[in-house]
Assembly symmetry: C2
Homo-oligomer: 232 residues x 2
């Protein structure tokens, strides 16, 4: 059991480091080290979410994985719920980064839809825990987290609505209709995200099919938009 591997985390879990000497070997100010621990709590929780819901993860478990004593958790968050809300923020970052990149690609060249789905796939692959957290807790058991995600997704829809209004500049689309179309795209893509995550880790041969289907769904929506006539 006491194998010497280079990773201090794994070693510390077997042979605790009560005084935190390893952590405090002169790197950074106290504030910086506090921030480091905070990030560790967030990261650890995100990893634990992989096959369970936030509601079933205990404060003690998170503290244990982060290498601190349970009571030290309270130096960073008042409760797991509060950590959860922080996680929403953390997880929206890659999503926002994604739409920024998709937007850039849009101006440049080629098939908008193929590019968009490629960017989606790339970001989901790059931040699986963040995306899984969002999809899993979107309708999950913790009210504060659910509401926080709903708010962020609403902002996200607004963003996409603005983008769509540029694409439909010539046609007489109302804001409501644009939002409706944006909402449909996001519903569709959130479904794709979870399918993608499940496929990535247990049926990699399905990934291509899922991406192709995602492209087709977006194309179908765009086609529909082409034929749309606003009604009262």
């Amino acid at each position: 059991m006491p194998v010497t591997d280079g990773r201090s985390r794994a070693r510390r879990r077997e042979q605790p480091d009560p005084a935190g000497v390893l952590e405090r070997s002169g790197v950074g100010s106290r504030a910086e080290r506090k921030e480091l621990t905070r990030q560790k709590l967030v990261g650890v929780t995100l990893r634990l979410i992989a096959d369970r819901s936030l509601a079933s993860i205990s404060l003690r478990e998170v503290a244990r994985e982060a290498g601190i004593v349970p009571t030290a958790f309270y130096r960073h968050f008042a409760s797991m719920d509060e950590l959860g809300v922080e996680l929403v923020d953390e997880s929206m970052r890659p999503l926002r980064q994604m739409i920024r990149e998709a937007r850039r690609g849009r101006v440049a060249h080629g098939d908008i839809i193929v590019d968009t789905v490629a960017v989606l796939a790339k970001h989901v692959r790059g931040h699986p825990d963040h995306f899984r957290f969002l999809v899993r807790e979107r309708y999950g058991g913790i009210g504060a987290v659910r509401r926080s995600i709903a708010t962020e997704l609403r902002l996200f829809t607004s963003d996409l609505t603005v983008d769509l209004s540029r694409l439909t500049a010539g046609l007489d689309w109302s804001t409501d209709d644009l939002e409706m179309a944006a909402g449909l795209m996001i519903s569709a893509m959130l479904g794709v995200v979870m399918d993608l995550l499940e496929a990535e880790e247990r049926r990699p041969e399905d990934v291509e099919t899922i991406l192709e289907r995602a492209e087709h769904q977006l194309r179908l929506i765009v086609l529909g938009m082409g034929g749309w006539r606003s009604k009262p």
Copy 2:
């Protein structure tokens, strides 16, 4: 506190009925009474799901609400996970009933889309707990339940695919494309279901807007299908 209201359940929670005399006052066979308790366990769990996830509900809590001792739970299910899988079955029933009714309406008359959304709204209103369970646990923390829901939704998609194949009889749609469109409709409608549930219980004035948006989304998809040309 010891108020006399007519409901035996509420009374029993305050003044337990250890020997189960109330339950056993000569109604039904032993097997029938067992089935009754089983249904009570299922129903109680479905109610507890309203604002929490299945993973955070304890066996003892369910037993308590159902009016039995924790150990008696095992006469019906080996674990909460097993009860969860049973709940999927139970919850799919109103959904299947819904599609059957939507299909009937389709043959009869009027605007298919308006009718479909009306049927959806009616069933969601009639079985809020069942629908909430499905949407919440679809990507929730319990693997067995998640897989069970995925399987059922796949069957559901197949059903809808068959329906769509009738509607597109003239055009040259491949099965893959039909499935893709069916999947898109289901993604969209599952999103609507949760919005609807949240609105029903805390912003009833939004319900109309949500239903209208659902109609528009379906219409957009149908429009897209009209313009679709199959590709390899």
